[in-house]
């Protein structure tokens, strides 16, 4: 009975409420422009008798733009909350606003078999999104435990897939995180962010957990419900302690899952853990610890990738081509470790957007400036110091980063004996980066780089060289599916030698290369199976091969100027990443290279099938400025494929072809700062190479252990070698002194890498061979009678260990061990007496080897305390380079002194070299 009364009461109550709602059905007018919920509510309350209840926190992101004339409240609220997750419920003159869940002002349907007029604002099943994208605020996903709703919410999830895109940024600095990976466990798909931190991934609609890993960032996850296409920006926390793990690859799964082969990625914290000769992190030295990369010796400018020559590597610093990547004869890399963010080395799967070099692409990416606060860092070493400052120009929109480095090595030179005391050597480099976010769809980036080297020997001859680059990049998102990067820039490399010691012979010798670049790269996410890359790029070269001029009135030097060379190298490319099935992915691309050698120029014509010698010049042709002298059109193919055998085991294969149109003329063992570049012309063919590679990749122990075995075979055609006694500098007819060489290289690379835990690092072993031969019938004399001979950098066995052990958050130790077979050399096989002295007669080229190479380095990294809020953070690096003090042969040579020939072995860093470096961040 009592129950009955209660029910009656309730019934009456609801009846009344329902009628109240009807009686309150008064018309309201209003005009709201970007109104907050409080403004909106006040506006409505002032024009009616309604009273609103809501949680202001849940509504803080809502902005209402609405103009209504004499509409009922329901209509107004429907319009205001259309396509949002907000709901309302009206009970008499009380209005309840909620987020996510609607308050039911009536009892459950059927409970009393009476319906009320409560309306869900978002009943609509429309998937169409009519609001302009510009007005939509992309949610910033910062917490792990929150469920983010992507797209237009529907009460039932439609089957099929939708696209999720957005940026991954550093929460502290707002900087884009390149190469961060998103892995979706439920679908086993993964993707990495591009150079701007942008990603697009296609997922089945529904609930997913995104696992996100970024270099130097804390691993995190985000929970999403994907309703329709939408965007999500993810902000990641930095790992506060800088004792980061050594990581080669950005993401755990990429080793097995990406279709790329022969790609190594390293971030700067890994680079900084590796002990370097003078204590300053060296970007290029780290590259040498990777499998398949060798160099002819310590302190050399170049490196050799899978049997390629040192000039066959394209070194890009934020898109600018760096011709001389070293300071001080190769003792230091020309890249400031405080500015560099990460490096990527492509040795096999070279993306089709790159061309123009045969062996590899080394991409060095600098950091973007902090968009939120001003920060900086400084480092002090024995020979160099560096400083960098960064910060916002307009907060969250525009930032800058400026880094500078200089040396004060002169004190060392002044300690030397009188004969060397007046020498001087100095270098410096400056990096500037400005990034500006115009809006969500447009970003521009300006980067500048300048490096200078000068040295002088006892006030006699002064040498200098410099790199200068400026790049402007514009990134534009057309929509979620298509984005473009347009960039233009200029790169300049020059050197200069002058001597005024003898006024009669006083001279100034200069070389420079200027290139103007233009690139337009597009990425189109066609479907969840196809990602299309296409674009065009061009380089206009202007090379001044040499200018030799008198200085001073007394100089008798005859001015000699080699005619400048001009050429246009263009590439048009199209590539597709095609996910054939969940197991098979194919990256296929084509690149059409068009190379035009341009006038003004006078070109000698040689009699066909005869050696290019002065006697065989038939005539010469003059070409006007801009006239096309010779065109080489050559298509390149880039294919790689991955087949997943199971979740953590895959097979990969690749084939690529490459062409190179610019050649470094050098007949020295390693690159010298006075080597000149020569463009391909009518008489010098472009270099051509192709490579086939095969690999097996395996992850174990929750992806913390990565293993891979890769094998490759490579052919090189028309690589330039030189005749005996060739003159490469100031030579009007270089083609008469060069010989085309053919090469072959093959090898197997084994890599085992531990990416997490207290002990991390990698071990690699490479077996590789590189052979060259000269069989050009027009060469005249042939090296080794036209048979294959080992290249200078042929080192069959190479072993590397790089490891870091973390004792605590403040202390860690790093050990680096390197072993390789000695490089080939040519040794004397006979001696004789001539010209007042003993002389030697050499064997066939490269028939002997210098002793094997072994080196181990050790360093201890000490972090200051880990309080986040303090004025400066500082750290120390103390270590020893070449711990065992082994006197590795850099070169061996036989030289005459007082008429007697003796053999010598030259070693660099022949004893343990201790170093100390102090770093400060503010």
């Amino acid at each position: 009975m009592r129950k009955f009364y209660l029910l009656c009461f309730c019934y009456l109550f609801f009846m009344q409420m329902a009628s109240g709602q009807q009686t309150n059905n008064k018309l309201i007018s209003g005009n709201f422009q970007q109104a907050t919920i409080a403004q909106f509510v006040n506006g409505v309350e002032s024009k009616s008798s309604y009273h609103f209840y809501y949680d202001s926190k849940s509504f803080d992101s809502l902005r209402i733009t609405l103009q209504v004339n004499d509409k009922p409240l329901e209509t107004i609220l429907d319009m205001a909350f259309k396509n949002t997750e907000y709901h309302y419920a009206i009970s008499q003159n009380l209005v309840f606003l909620t987020k996510g869940r609607q308050i039911k002002t009536d009892l459950a349907e059927g409970y009393l078999e009476t319906t009320t007029t409560a309306v869900a604002a978002n009943q609509t099943t429309t998937v169409a999104d009519y609001t302009d994208e510009r007005d939509k605020k992309v949610p910033e996903a910062t917490t792990e435990n929150k469920l983010y709703e992507i797209g237009i919410k529907t009460n039932e999830i439609k089957p099929g897939s939708s696209r999720l895109s957005g940026y991954i940024r550093n929460i502290k600095s707002g900087e884009a995180i390149v190469g961060a990976s998103i892995y979706v466990a439920s679908t086993k798909t993964g993707i990495a962010t591009d150079q701007f931190g942008y990603f697009t991934i296609i997922l089945p609609r529904g609930r997913h957990v995104l696992n996100i890993r970024g270099l130097g960032m804390r691993d995190t996850r985000r929970q999403i419900i994907l309703y329709s296409d939408g965007r999500l920006n993810i902000e990641l926390q930095e790992q506060v302690n800088s004792l980061k793990e050594v990581k080669i690859s950005a993401d755990k799964v990429a080793n097995v899952r990406s279709a790329e082969m022969g790609v190594s990625r390293l971030n700067i914290s890994s680079i900084k853990q590796i002990p370097a000769a003078f204590g300053e992190a060296d970007v290029l030295k780290v590259v040498l610890t990777l499998p398949g990369v060798t160099s002819v010796g310590e302190a050399t400018t170049g490196f050799n990738v899978r049997g390629g020559a040192a000039d066959e590597n394209l070194i890009l610093l934020d898109g600018a081509t760096i011709y001389n990547p070293a300071h001080f004869f190769g003792f230091f890399a020309a890249f400031n470790p405080d500015i560099v963010k990460n490096i990527e080395l492509y040795k096999s799967s070279i993306p089709e957007k790159y061309g123009g070099r045969l062996s590899s692409v080394l991409e060095i990416t600098n950091r973007e400036g902090n968009k939120k606060i001003f920060t900086g860092s400084a480092g002090i070493g024995l020979l160099t110091s560096r400083l960098n400052i960064e910060g916002p120009i307009v907060k969250d929109k525009t930032s800058f980063i400026l880094g500078a480095r200089t040396t004060y090595s002169d004190w060392l030179l002044h300690l030397l004996p009188e004969a060397y005391k007046h020498s001087s050597a100095s270098f410096n480099d400056v990096n500037l980066g400005i990034s500006h976010q115009i809006n969500d769809k447009n970003n521009i980036y300006l980067t500048g780089y300048l490096s200078n080297d000068k040295f002088k020997l006892n006030s006699d001859t002064a040498y200098s060289y410099s790199n200068k680059s400026l790049v402007l990049k514009w990134k534009h998102n057309f929509n979620n599916k298509l984005y473009s990067v347009i960039s233009g820039g200029i790169d300049k490399y020059q050197y200069d030698i002058n001597s005024t010691a003898n006024p009669v012979n006083a001279f100034d010798l200069g070389f420079n290369i200027n290139q103007t670049n233009f690139r337009a790269d597009f990425t189109y996410y066609l479907s969840n199976k196809h990602t299309i890359d296409f674009g065009v790029n061009s380089i206009l070269y202007n090379v001044n091969p040499g200018k030799f001029e008198p200085t001073g009135a007394q100089s008798l030097v005859l001015p000699q100027v080699i005619a400048p060379e001009h050429a246009l190298e263009s590439g048009l490319y199209l590539g597709d990443k095609y996910d054939v099935s969940s197991k098979l992915t194919i990256n296929a691309g084509v690149r059409l290279n068009v190379y035009n050698y341009l006038g003004a120029q006078v070109v000698d014509n040689y009699a066909p099938n005869l050696p290019r010698e002065p006697v065989n010049v038939i005539d010469s042709t003059s070409y006007k400025s801009g006239q096309i002298i010779k065109t080489y059109i050559s298509p390149d193919i880039r294919i790689s494929a991955r087949y997943l055998l199971n979740d953590d085991l895959s097979l990969k294969a690749g084939y690529n072809t490459l062409h190179q149109y610019i050649h470094l003329l050098s007949n020295t063992t390693s690159i010298s700062p006075t080597d000149v570049y020569k463009l391909s012309d009518s008489n010098i063919k472009p270099e051509h190479g192709d490579q086939v590679s095969l690999g097996i990749f395996k992850n174990a122990k929750q992806n913390t252990l990565e293993m891979s075995v890769e094998v490759y075979y490579k052919r090189i055609r028309d690589y330039l070698d030189y005749k005996s006694g060739a003159v490469l500098l100031l030579n009007q007819h270089v083609e008469q002194d060069v010989i085309n060489t053919q090469g072959k290289a093959y090898g197997a690379e084994f890599l085992l890498k531990k990416t997490a835990g207290k002990l991390n690092g990698w071990v690699s072993y490479t077996y590789s061979r590189t052979f060259l031969k000269q069989d050009d019938p027009n060469a005249g004399e042939l090296i080794n009678g036209g048979a294959y001979y080992p290249a200078n950098y042929d080192k069959p066995n190479a072993f590397n260990f790089t490891g870091n052990y973390k004792f605590s958050h403040r202390y860690s130790v790093s050990l680096d061990v390197a072993y390789s077979t000695g490089r080939p050399i040519t040794l004397p096989i006979a001696k004789y007496y001539y010209g007042g002295s003993e002389r030697v007669f050499y064997s066939d080229r490269n028939q002997y080897r210098i002793p094997d190479y072994f080196r181990s380095d050790f360093s201890l990294n000490i972090e200051g305390n880990h309080r986040i809020h303090q004025l400066t953070h500082n750290s120390w690096t103390i270590g020893v380079y070449n711990l065992t003090g082994r006197q590795n042969a850099y070169s061996t040579f036989f030289t005459e002194q007082s008429g007697v020939i003796s053999g010598y072995k030259l070693s660099i860093f022949a004893s343990p070299i201790p170093f100390i470096n102090y770093n400060i961040r503010f």
Binding site: D460, A889, S891, F893, T895, S902, G903, I908
Partner: protein
């Protein structure tokens, strides 16, 4: 340029590197290739051609002369001039007085029946040396040569030099040990004053190909350090100048690179020096050397001690001193180390006074031969050019 690089580089290795002897066992095979050195002198001097053979790298002596060969000079008109064997691998003919209109070549027939022939070479006459000058730079005299060719035709040059200096033994003595006794020295036994000679061993090259005029200015010939004895009394240098064809210049440059400037980071790889001599019996057999033709110009200068603006010149001989030994003649006629030649007497034997013949005690003063006998270093004959 490369040279300066290697200087700076060796400077760097001085700080952080090291250079150590290295003698790998490369091969035991003795290739025994023929080496031909010499100039077809078209002028007033004799033509001297030197034939030798290569030896293995590890042997001590490099001298391996080629004897009993038939060597002749030919011109492109068919004239043949036969050279006479002088011994020690030298083959010579007095002044040929050839014209410079024709081209010349060298033909060698060795005793093993092989025949070698050079390409025809153009005779190139060396312009006179304008002057040889010297400049003191604190620790050394730097010798420079100056020359010019008003016709601008020479362009490529090579130099050799012979230096001779007057030397006084630090310990002067009037006696010598000869035929078992100590006797006063005669002019033939002179060991106090000598003339010491030394030949250039480096290849000295220069070119004016890049200059407006064919002028060689301040071309470095050699450096004479004050720490050596060369400048101690009087020094003389005679510089020989050769004119080269561009090919010959390249040959010498390669040879120089291969044996004098190797080993630093930026030096060129060893490469074969392209010769102009071929083995016509076995074309694949390498032949070493390069045949040139033309005349030589020569100039000599003297530098006196008075011209050296520092007081300490020469090796420090303060270690040189005399010792003496007293002995009884019935035991042995002279101290054993004098008879052996380990030391040289500096004075006659002195008989101690007041003793009978039977017990008489003799004393002899002696010194290290390096301090007394200059003929160990040079000749006691005054050269003809010395003035």
């Amino acid at each position: 340029m490369t040279k300066n690089y290697s200087c700076l580089f060796s400077l760097l290795t001085l700080i952080i590197g090291c250079k150590k002897p290295y003698n790998p066992v490369v091969t035991a095979t003795n290739y025994n290739y023929l080496v031909i050195e010499g100039l077809i002198n078209t002028g007033q001097d004799s033509t001297i051609i030197k034939l030798s053979r290569t030896v293995t790298v590890d042997v001590q002596t490099t001298l391996n002369p080629e004897l009993s060969a038939r060597v002749s000079v030919e011109n492109n008109q068919g004239n043949v001039y036969l050279l006479k064997e002088m011994g020690k691998g030298l083959y010579a003919i007095p002044a040929l007085n050839l014209d410079t209109l024709h081209k010349y070549r060298l033909r060698v027939k060795t005793s093993d029946g092989k025949e070698y022939l050079s390409d025809f070479v153009k005779a190139k006459d060396s312009p006179p040396i304008d002057s040889i000058q010297h400049q003191f730079t604190g620790t050394a005299e730097n010798i420079f040569s100056y020359t010019h060719d008003p016709t601008n035709n020479t362009r490529y040059y090579r130099w050799e030099f012979q230096e001779t200096y007057l030397y006084y033994s630090p310990i002067q003595t009037q006696f010598v040990y000869k035929n078992g006794s100590i006797i006063p020295e005669t002019p033939d036994d002179e060991i106090n004053v000598c003339y010491i000679s030394d030949n250039s061993s480096d290849i000295i090259l220069n070119s004016t190909a890049k200059l407006k005029q064919d002028v060689i200015d301040k071309n470095p010939i050699t450096q004479v350090s004050v720490t050596l004895d060369k400048l101690r009394v009087r020094y003389s240098i005679s510089v020989k100048q050769y004119a080269l064809t561009p090919d010959a210049y390249n040959y010498y440059q390669s040879l120089k690179k291969n044996t004098e400037t190797l080993g630093s980071i930026f030096d060129a790889l060893p490469s074969g020096a392209t010769t102009n001599i071929h083995c016509i019996t076995n074309p694949t057999e390498p032949v070493l050397g390069y045949v040139t033709a033309g005349t030589i110009s020569q100039r000599r200068i003297f530098i006196d001690r008075a011209e050296i603006p520092v007081s300490n010149v020469g090796v420090d001989y303060s270690y040189c001193g005399t010792a003496y030994e007293s002995y009884k003649v019935q035991e042995y006629p002279l101290p054993y180390n004098i008879i052996q030649g380990d030391v040289t007497p500096t004075d006659s034997v002195i008989k101690a006074a007041g003793k009978t013949r039977k017990d008489s005690v003799f004393t002899v003063y002696y010194a290290d031969p390096g301090c007394t006998n200059c003929t160990l270093k040079g000749s006691n004959k005054k050269p003809l050019f010395w003035k």
